[in-house]
Symmetry: C2
Subunit: 217 residues, 2 copies
């Protein structure tokens, strides 16, 4: 199994966490440097025409792409520990919380969007920082409202079991730090993220622990 | 069951298709007019703090939100006809194709993003149209490459069974039309979308068939 990864990629952070939790170790980790534009190289476009990471090539040559699809696949093919609860309504809540991050927020702040804002609309660095801060804030408010207002929230987003919602929340917190967005005003998120950061599978997968990462952002 | 819907919402279009396919009829369809800003009303924020549709309230009061989470829930609770294939790799491909639409593209062109671009960065109507056109084009290219290049593509995105990838693709095609983005240069997408539009569950769910919709966009 080969994982295409970059230290800063939050979508790849999700997959690294899941691989660690499942005890699945890629044979090779190939850096796709999103700052240098490796994602647009012809060789990588053949692997993922969307020019995004993560991508994962299995031993039989199957290419998996899109982080949430990879998480669901890992959970179906490596059921222990499960990343989704058993009960349908709980599964729906977990998936929806994950999607606030992975659909409503993260796609807005990825490199291709920031680059397009800068090149096409001449938005300067401060404007881009404001953009990232705004969308992170919107979803942190929504997530905090969900998490603080539901009896289903436990030690983690859904009870006391780590799920894909937690995996996405950890990425959201790391992403917020990229845009100088403090999570302290969101006490339930902060409590859960602090808890997640103590789990080895999360800590080892963190962007700042990857090859090529700076000491801080 | 109550569905919060708006004619133009592409994420709600997905859920309407799935409900039609599964033969599940909401008791009530409540309009959240995204142009007037109903999504920001305090009453709706209690239902979905992310201020987005679709949202679905079940008879026991459970609130479902985020379209892909709702599709997965409907598929788990109403298994016939299935919206995902059985085989894990095929499921991963279907989910990933769906996520090119629902994660990589659609979140960039929703009302809140267009409004923020206009208000915060003073981008005019032509600039917004270009924005929508650009992101649609990026994902149409990626989707066409995936669909035309894989032996797994059949009558629909994955073989001859309608899946959540097709549901998302139908929304992508409708969304492309909002931004004057022609799908004719993408022959595999066009072929599949034309096929989908002949299915009653898709045709009845189409944005332009909903109350309040104009005759064309």
């Amino acid at each position: 199994m080969k994982l295409f990864s970059f230290w800063r990629s939050l979508a790849t952070f999700r997959v690294r966490i899941a691989l660690n939790l499942k005890g699945v170790m890629p044979d090779e980790i190939i850096e796709i440097n999103l700052v240098k534009g490796d994602q647009r190289d012809a060789a990588f476009r053949k692997i993922n025409p969307m020019m995004a990471i993560p991508a994962l090539i299995e031993d039989d040559g199957t290419v998996l792409f899109e982080s949430l699809a990879i998480l669901e696949d890992l959970d179906e093919t490596h059921p222990n520990p499960p990343l989704l609860p058993k009960e349908p309504k709980a599964r729906a809540r977990v998936r929806a919380l994950a999607q606030i991050v992975a659909c409503d927020t993260h796609p807005l702040i990825v490199p291709r969007v920031r680059e397009y804002l800068a090149h096409e609309y001449k938005i300067d660095e401060a404007g881009i920082l404001k953009w990232g801060h705004h969308w992170h804030t919107q979803s942190l408010i929504a997530l905090e409202t969900h998490l603080s207002g539901s009896p289903q929230t436990g030690r983690y987003c859904q009870g006391d079991q780590v799920t894909i919602a937690d995996i996405c929340l950890a990425g959201q917190a790391a992403g917020a730090s990229y845009f100088k967005c403090d999570i302290a005003p969101y006490p339930t998120i902060k409590r859960i993220v602090d808890e997640l950061n103590t789990i080895d599978a999360f800590a080892r997968a963190h962007p700042l622990q990857q090859p090529g990462a700076p000491a801080s952002v």
